[in-house]
Assembly symmetry: C2
Homo-oligomer: 262 residues x 2
DNA sequence: CACGCTTACTCGTATAGACGAGTGGGCGAG
DNA sequence: CTCGCCCACTCGTCTATACGAGTAAGCGTG
């Protein structure tokens, strides 16, 4: 089709010791950065680049695989290679667990997404008792078994987050917390009703590449890391009453925190 | 050398529709997860795997490139492919900017690293006035030019973080803040001495794959994302007095925050 | 013993070719 | 006009081969 209109890409430098496939990747990256290819736009096909640069197809594929690893482009079988569009980001503010947000009937996720004009969904609901992992047990203060609440969050059909809450059985068993739908205000509202007054949360944040399982659940494109957030909720007596383990598609989130300067 | 002692890896499933190179990657990943190969240990060479599985070399390389993208392994030219060791992580607590940490003479980074028994270093120091980017200008409240302080942090010789602080010229020019070494307690101590009493910080956190430049400065292995943190410091009058833009090797950090439940 | 060369092994780069499979447009039959 | 098939184009997978270049150990020479 398009024999790659000249001017968009330059030539190779045979004197350079930079590998050919890197030079090609560099040129494509620069063209994308300069906006010569826009978000979602199709890049020249492998065959086009083979012709343009006079290299073999594997060399071109090698170049593309670099850009994929950087999260810049994604390939679609039978269609082409495209500049990866940036999804709308969800901003998580540090006051998102303030009591005042807990008053309404709907979950924070739903309310916020509706406000932002996107279509929120929660699925993969699973609530069950299970053995606590070593890590969870330590965080909750040496409990053996826990109530686990798993759910996946989607925005406009795209999975963005997968979370599991763990609670000690002596707190959660037989309460609305053990129900699939814990009611208005979520489990934090229920915890307070049960007399566990929340004092503060602790959040630990890591970033890493996703496991194959995470790629699947979050439908992640190549080159998209995940943010791994582990939140522990403490009551006014200093007891850890809940641990929430969350894996988020990193391209869909900005976390925001407010720190006192004291 | 080692004809790949049988038992470590299994066979391919020719009936599976899973691509051969994925099956090989799966087997290696599982072996690593199960601890059959330890951190830093050498994996079977490409030639070994070619023999073992009876496939071509490109297929094996393809499998390795998957694992590299996941950050599980890294290849060393002429030596082999190794299970990527997890570097020691630096924990950033949310009280790290508390005034009480600002009293001593040394920077927080140095003190903390010394305490952890590692050898800290700061280099690439650059302090200069420059034009503010659109983003920085917005965050600082429409300033044109800023004082930029750039520096790179290393632990035991490994770069872990690259940070740039931006300050409005009317605050920083002609003060110790414009000096390469701003003195004990760092620029936050100087800001307070200059009458800009700090009230709170705001931190924005993103995770993404590094740019080629970031790979270079932080000497990042393949499959290691970066954490991008943008901190704004506000004084008691609500003015943004500093913006600090930090890019961290994600495998070297855990961020930790404390949130009130109010 | 010390140094340098050789050599075997490792991954890096690149070519050429083959077939498979998903996509989408166009063309022809009804 | 509509539907379905075909075909061209696209990326996915795999083979076979070749040479380059970094590493480390061993061997031989001085």
């Amino acid at each position: 089709m398009s024999p790659l209109s000249s001017g968009l890409l330059g030539d190779l430098d045979p004197t350079s010791d930079r590998a050919v496939f890197r030079q090609i990747a560099d040129q494509l990256r620069e063209a994308i950065d300069r906006g010569r290819f826009r978000e979602g736009e199709k890049l020249p096909s492998e065959a086009d680049l083979v012709d343009h640069f006079g290299v073999s197809r594997m060399t071109v594929r090698n170049a593309f695989s670099i850009l994929q690893g950087e999260g810049l482009v994604h390939a679609e079988h039978g269609r082409g290679v495209f500049v990866r569009p940036r999804p709308p980001v969800r901003r998580l503010a540090s006051d998102r667990f303030a009591r005042r947000h807990r008053e309404q009937g709907k979950s924070a996720f739903i309310v916020e997404a509706d406000a932002a004009g996107s279509h929120p969904q929660v699925d993969s609901l699973e609530v069950k008792e299970e053995k606590a992992s070593q890590d969870i047990s330590t965080r909750l203060g040496s409990v053996r078994r826990v109530l686990a609440r798993r759910r996946r969050y989607l925005l406009d059909g795209k999975p963005v987050e997968f979370a599991t809450s763990y609670l000690p059985l002596d707190i959660a068993r037989g309460t609305p917390i053990a129900e699939p739908n814990p009611g208005p205000g979520g489990i934090y509202a229920r915890l307070e009703e049960l007399g566990h007054h929340l004092d503060h949360f602790e959040e630990e944040i890591r970033a890493r590449m996703p496991s194959p399982a995470e790629v699947k659940t979050l439908r992640l494109a190549a080159g998209v890391p995940v943010i791994h957030l582990i939140r522990t909720a403490f009551d006014t007596e200093g007891r850890a009453v809940e641990v929430c383990d969350t894996v988020m598609a990193a391209d869909a989130y900005v976390l925001s925190y407010q720190l006192p300067a004291t």
